[in-house]
């Protein structure tokens, strides 16, 4: 969980920083989108790096899902008879919603790829016109897309708030003070990620990007 998770968080941060280039205008953003295809050239043929990264990320996502499924199945087998009286788990909301939050995020990632990578579900959907695709996607008339995007990003935020701390613990974090630092850092990193990602659709909504 921890190893694949941290790999995915690394990607999320790189992706978020790339997204923020949209505030520098259409030309810069489209150029950035094109540049992604040229990473690694001339050592690698064009777009090879991109496909290697996609393969690594897919393996990480699958590994993450397999590990989560094993844990969930073991949990179900470890408690065959449920409690008649069971108050809410005292741990954080984030810790309680890891499994369903993960399912929401997976559904979102599938939609997101069909929307902005392949362009299938995008109203503009022209390859190379990254800026126009994003602007068309989050147009005020498509408020439901923005809503789904917002909910998914918030789900990612909650997932990371528990996940980041939990990963650090898995790697052996073991002092009470370090626990406070790890929890606080996980919260800050999750918040930064949520704000960074949500700034794009809301910039489209208020007309900063169009």
């Amino acid at each position: 969980m921890a190893v694949t998770g941290l790999l995915l968080v690394g990607f999320l941060y790189a992706h978020m920083i790339g997204n923020l280039k949209i505030f520098f205008g259409a030309e810069t953003f489209d150029h950035y989108a094109h540049w992604l295809r040229t990473i690694g050239t001339p050592l690698l043929p064009e777009a090879w790096y991109l496909w290697i990264q996609r393969a690594v990320l897919t393996v990480a996502v699958l590994g993450h899902i397999v590990a989560a499924t094993i844990l969930a199945r073991r949990a179900r087998q470890a408690r065959p008879v449920k409690y008649a009286h069971r108050p809410k788990v005292q741990g954080s909301y984030a810790a309680r919603t890891m499994r369903w939050g993960g399912v929401i995020i997976l559904l979102f990632v599938i939609y997101h790829i069909l929307d902005l990578t392949t362009g299938t579900l995008n109203p503009n959907g022209v390859a190379g016109e990254a800026y126009a695709n994003v602007a068309a996607d989050f147009a005020p008339s498509r408020w439901y897309v923005t809503l789904f995007y917002t909910l998914s990003i918030v789900a990612v935020g909650f997932h990371l708030r528990h996940g980041l701390w939990s990963a650090v613990r898995t790697f052996g974090q073991q002092s009470p003070r370090g626990e406070l630092y790890a929890r606080a850092t996980a919260l800050v990193l999750s918040l930064v990620l949520v704000v960074g990602y949500l700034s794009v659709p809301f910039a489209v909504l208020v007309g900063l990007v169009d």
Binding site: A75, A78, V81, E179
Partner: protein, 248 residues
């Protein structure tokens, strides 16, 4: 005070079991939770009913026998308190209190609220020991132990093996128990020779016994009557990683 209790009744391991409601009248607020059950049992016996079976021994909060989930919380609503040290003054007149056994595949119900916690013994048998010769207590200054390590080892050693961590864990994991045992031996100089095999063998025994995996929810530490800290699980993970790396 007058209260109602809904208690899990199960005649034996093969019985399906059910929650049964009983009225308990004129209970002193200073009675412990187990004394309240004693009063109820006396009434049940006089009425010709089967008394409620529950585990108890010292009733001083140090043996770890009283295993019951009260209103959905292992050992009841008071922090760092075993069920025998929980007093009725923490409940209100007219309350309905749910009492259930520990729920875990590794802890099969024997009768009513009594479960078999032998799975924890299997984890201890797998590595909860040292091979140094024991006997009379050695001279205390012969083996220096840093104060910090001694304190943490002592804190971990206060685990009474009651199983509340398993009962509370949403994953039914015994990680806090295993972490406490691994830490209290692994922090001492006498525990070093088996430090690596201990953590690997005890975790293996835990998995084999049918406990779930840890996802760092932190429920265990919340209900632990001895307040075993959650960060010991990080120590267990660290020891495990180092032991696995050395085994290659």
């Amino acid at each position: 005070m007058d209260i109602q209790v809904r208690v899990w009744r199960q005649e034996g391991p093969s019985d399906g079991g059910r929650m049964v409601t009983y009225d308990v009248k004129d209970i002193s607020p200073d009675a412990s939770f187990l004394e309240m059950l004693d009063v109820l049992n006396e009434k049940l016996i006089l009425d010709g009913d089967d008394p409620i079976a529950f585990d108890h021994d010292c009733r001083e909060g140090i043996c770890g026998a009283c295993s019951m989930v009260i209103d959905g919380v292992a050992h009841g609503p008071e922090k760092a308190t075993t069920a025998c040290q929980l007093h009725m003054r923490h409940f209100k007149q007219g309350d309905t209190i749910d009492v259930e056994p520990w729920r875990a595949a590794a802890f099969p119900v024997i009768k009513d609220l009594v479960v078999n916690r032998g799975a924890l013994d299997k984890i201890v048998a797998a590595g909860g020991y040292i091979t140094a010769p024991t006997g009379a207590a050695p001279e205390a200054h012969a083996t220096p132990v840093p104060k910090k390590d001694a304190d943490l080892a002592f804190e971990a050693a206060t685990c009474i093996g009651c199983g509340a961590c398993v009962a509370a864990c949403p994953n039914g994991s015994a990680m806090l128990f295993t972490a406490a045992k691994v830490a209290h031996l692994g922090l001492m100089p006498q525990g070093q020779p088996e430090r690596d095999t201990r953590v690997i063998d005890m975790l293996q025994a835990q998995d084999d016994a049918g406990f779930g995996g840890c996802t760092n929810m932190g429920e265990c530490s919340q209900v632990c009557p001895k307040g075993i800290p959650l960060h010991l699980i990080g120590r267990l993970n660290s020891d495990y990683r180092k032991a696995v790396r050395k085994s290659f």
